[in-house]
């Protein structure tokens, strides 16, 4: 995958399009990554992306789908912590896509 260029700054991505350096993340970077996926980020996306980053800070790993759903349900309630809502927001692969947009490593337990 090619790198990301934002305001003349080159941001390295790995072969799957995840940030090579997690500290490169910013809301601008998230928007640029989302654009590559033909997604525009709404408030509903942002609250999940921020939760993803909280999850990573707390557990030092990216969640697989089930733990992501549980974590969202825990923090935002069951009307958001369910697979229907998350699949709708992130094109059917919430764990992978939300991790990518939130600047986290690719979830390793996502086979």
């Amino acid at each position: 995958m090619s790198d990301l260029i934002i305001d003349d700054r080159t941001i390295a991505l790995d072969k799957d399009g995840y940030l090579a350096d997690l500290s490169d993340w910013s809301t601008l970077v998230a928007e640029a990554l989302a654009a590559r996926e033909e997604l525009s980020l709404s408030q509903e996306h942002w609250e999940i992306l921020h939760l993803m980053r909280d999850f990573y800070t707390e557990f030092q790993l990216s969640p697989a789908t089930r733990p992501l759903i549980k974590y969202v349900a825990l923090k935002l309630g069951p009307e958001k912590g369910n697979s229907l809502h998350l699949n709708r927001l992130f094109k059917g692969t919430p764990a992978k896509l939300a991790a990518k947009l939130a600047g986290l490593p690719k979830p390793t337990n996502c086979l």
């Binding site: 707390e58 030092q60 790993l61 969640p63 089930r66 733990p67 549980k70 337990n109 086979l111």
Partner: protein, 119 residues
């Protein structure tokens, strides 16, 4: 009904891959909703000691990863009382909600599971 699996984690956290491998099996199995239990035995109980700072020796923080077990559906967590006693951890507040079991209770525990992996 999937077979139940007990992971016995008996390696200290920072000296080799054993502790990480046991945890990865637990997280992967939990993500797929398999009935998994995890027992910390022998030096494995050092994974539960509080306020460790593995960054000092350039290691990733396994103890943070361990906290994710309940979210991954692995909430049957046990520790060997004898291993804690031997290592001066008997009165320490451990880093994970685990059930302390004596040898007799551990024998029953191992007996209840269909499969056992000891790492």
């Amino acid at each position: 009904m999937a077979k139940s699996l007990l992971l016995v984690s008996r390696q200290a956290p920072w000296s080799g891959p054993g502790a990480r491998e046991a945890l990865d099996i637990a997280l992967a199995g939990g993500a797929f909703d398999l009935p998994i239990g995890m027992l910390f035995l022998d030096d494995g109980v050092f994974q539960l000691a509080p306020t460790q700072y593995p960054e000092a020796i350039q290691q990733k923080d396994l103890t943070a990863n361990l906290q994710a077990l309940p979210l991954f559906g692995v909430d049957s967590l046990y520790v060997a009382q004898r291993s804690l006693d031997e290592r001066g951890l008997a009165d320490t507040t451990l880093d994970l909600p685990v059930q302390c079991l004596d040898d007799a209770a551990l024998r029953d525990l191992i007996d209840r599971y269909d499969l056992v992996i000891t790492l």
